[in-house]
Symmetry: C4
Subunit: 251 residues, 4 copies
């Protein structure tokens, strides 16, 4: 069972707000280079909920509005709206495996994809990479679109307790405890991969942060307050560069 | 014999629609980085027709409107409008060799061009490459503009039954059964080459999808329904970022 | 003690002008690719002053207005406004160590960051690099955000009398005798690093300017008059591409 | 002796038109990535004239209007307007050495600059490179700004009868028989260098066009009619993306 914002004015204010945040997140991902036609998804749920909201199968990150967000059940057996993206099973599997996760991004961001196609370990070249070093397992069972629950559960299993998994020859899956976290982490991952791919190609090698610095960066630079500050900046960028409505009525 | 949309209001609604789609395709190619001054062409025909529509010699992808599209015969011996691009012979040769082809893109897209200049085989680094691995023959007889029928037929021969050919030190030729398919394939090819060129330069090599995944991707990700969905997204992008008319009367 | 422009209309015209210049500098840095969410700072002081003006902790380079600039003391022991960026200590330490410095940029500009992560010496590939060759020490004590005075003083010590320091796996610190100088130098450094990183990856090596040319470039291309001319161009670019106010009342 | 368009309404219609073309050329160069603050120049003369028109020292390519164009003598001994760029001597030396040259571009375009810093020979990776292979001598006497007539004459001597010279660790000088030719050639050179730098970094090497193809490309793709067609496209792009005036009164 699925419903759009417009179909169901009965959503709670908190749910309406979450739906708006998902559409802002989608546009922020577009500004960060995550577009690949209309492929990829971003979803989020209220903590503990057995339904979640997700961008539909047709809409691109770059054009997403609250009306393009659908509600879906975390139960893979529940009937599915025909506009749900086929990869909704990936979101279901991850939500069911990870009670701590309330938002998921799946995209084909180019640098994430290329790093995922190599055997390179993600390194802490910058703050961005420090968040991810040692925490981006590769999923190598298949490089295909995630269409079935068993494959989706295998991705969730590969992801484990980590914030992201690299889907080899496919893209990335990035998760967080809120839509803010997942969106910021998706930006961090793409930037970390871009910087590392540049550093890898320079003769003579490069340094990355040591364990102590990585721990300190995770504590300070990626504290909840920091993530909220980055998200707020992303949201303001969307409102300036890719506003949801010409009249700007979405706040 | 050639006629513009404005010269001949007698075109059928289906032909008018095709002409509009060609101009949207041209602008989508521009957004995808296919511009090289006003060089390159995009053309399409109604299935089975012995005429086709093609961007004229003067107009760039980035500025193409329906008024910039000319009609041409598939017969290389037919008289030619002086505004037809000299490479119209390439389109004629391919249409005559490939009854299944109803649209052709020829461009100097930079990553396609550079990959074509190497001896590298296109690999399935991402979904994009999966569509093309083993299906992009190189045309190496000449790197020149295709000005004569015999060279055009040699390109068509090199292309064979494939969706694209790399013209060494020149660019690419991409074909499809509709303007939607050819445009989407042209985007796929440029993105596949860009991702692979990045992966090639990373020490330690990279993986690409195996035969089973490639087959599955071709069946699912590049099914007609998927291609239509990608095209519709391209079309909406053009309407937002590079609209044909300020008043937006072309739908 | 800190005050915004709007809180304190008692600022002198020269101070108001400096505050406006800082917000223009921030936007120019954004146009030059220095954005990393809302991270990084730019600050400036009137020559000899024991206070300085600095972008607050929340605002990104891309969106900075005069209202987003705070005043801070150069005394690390003075009480701090809660909106001051935590790295304000870096600015305090550098101002105290360098009476000749009246403006500081700290950013995570990508090419500066990657070059800083390597052991490569910055070379005079272009005019830009000529300004910096032999004058960009690396700070390697920590790659973390500069949160304490002792670390900030260690950065100031590494910087010595130079115009910039590379903070390994973190970013860059660029200083100048005016906001114009520091901003122009930050652009020069990012461009120098970008050009060198491209040159490093080309087989066969590259040349860089010799000592005589470097000396001549520093005297002519980076004379005060030249720097002012570059800054004025940056300022006009900001007014065209990223204006502070729709009505353009800031001159 | 120098005069601006506005100072001297007595310019002939042909001269006024040339001045407008120079400002369009400047903006087209900006769109092609030739900006480096306000550095670089573009100049042109009426065939056979002993004066020429040149962008002033203050204005960037991106913001150039007809009012920013100055007239200068080809005689290096003639008194100079203080707003003339110091490198006006380079233009004087080339005009005096090359009666066939009626327009000159000097810029710090990044890929041209990096290729110039290497010992690589420019190769015919694409049509663009075919125009230049074997015709881009390197000037290595100095990498400094060209401030004196003797250095300017040495550049002219290195340029010889060719369409461009690479100024090692400085940038490029591109010449043509008209402003249209010089502008188009400057775009070709930057694109040729960008494509080659990508190809150079790919393992396994790359092919370039053979002598026969190069000759054919020069005859067809770079015939006067082709160059005019490319220029006209550049001009339309400027009017769309970077118009000289909001009201668009310059045609």
């Amino acid at each position: 069972m699925t419903t759009t914002v417009i179909d169901s004015p009965a959503f709670t204010p908190a749910q309406i707000n979450l739906i708006k945040q998902i559409s802002i997140a989608a546009r922020s991902l577009s500004l960060g280079g995550h577009d690949d036609f209309n492929q990829g998804q971003v979803s989020a749920r209220m903590p503990g909920a057995d339904t979640f909201f997700i961008k539909n199968a047709i809409t691109g990150f770059d054009e997403c509005t609250p009306d393009d967000i659908l509600q879906a059940s975390t139960d893979p057996e529940a009937p599915k709206d025909r506009l749900l993206p086929p990869e909704v099973v990936l979101h279901q599997a991850v939500y069911n495996a990870r009670p701590d996760v309330n938002a998921i991004v799946h995209s084909h961001a180019p640098h994430t994809l290329v790093l995922g196609a190599t055997d390179l370990q993600l390194r802490a070249v910058s703050h961005d990479g420090a968040f991810f070093e040692g925490r981006t397992p590769r999923f190598t069972m298949t490089s295909n679109t995630i269409l079935t629950l068993d494959v989706a559960e295998a991705v969730a299993s590969a992801l484990g307790t980590y914030p992201a998994a690299l889907l080899r020859n496919h893209g990335g899956v990035i998760v967080g405890k809120s839509i803010r976290h997942a969106t910021v982490y998706a930006h961090l991952l793409e930037r970390a991969c871009a910087l590392q791919l540049t550093a890898e190609r320079v003769p003579g090698g490069y340094h990355s942060s040591d364990e102590g610095d990585i721990a300190a960066k995770r504590e300070f630079n990626f504290a909840d307050l920091s993530v909220r500050s980055y998200w707020d900046h992303c949201s303001r960028q969307v409102h300036r560069l890719l506003p949801l409505y010409a009249s700007g009525q979405v706040s």
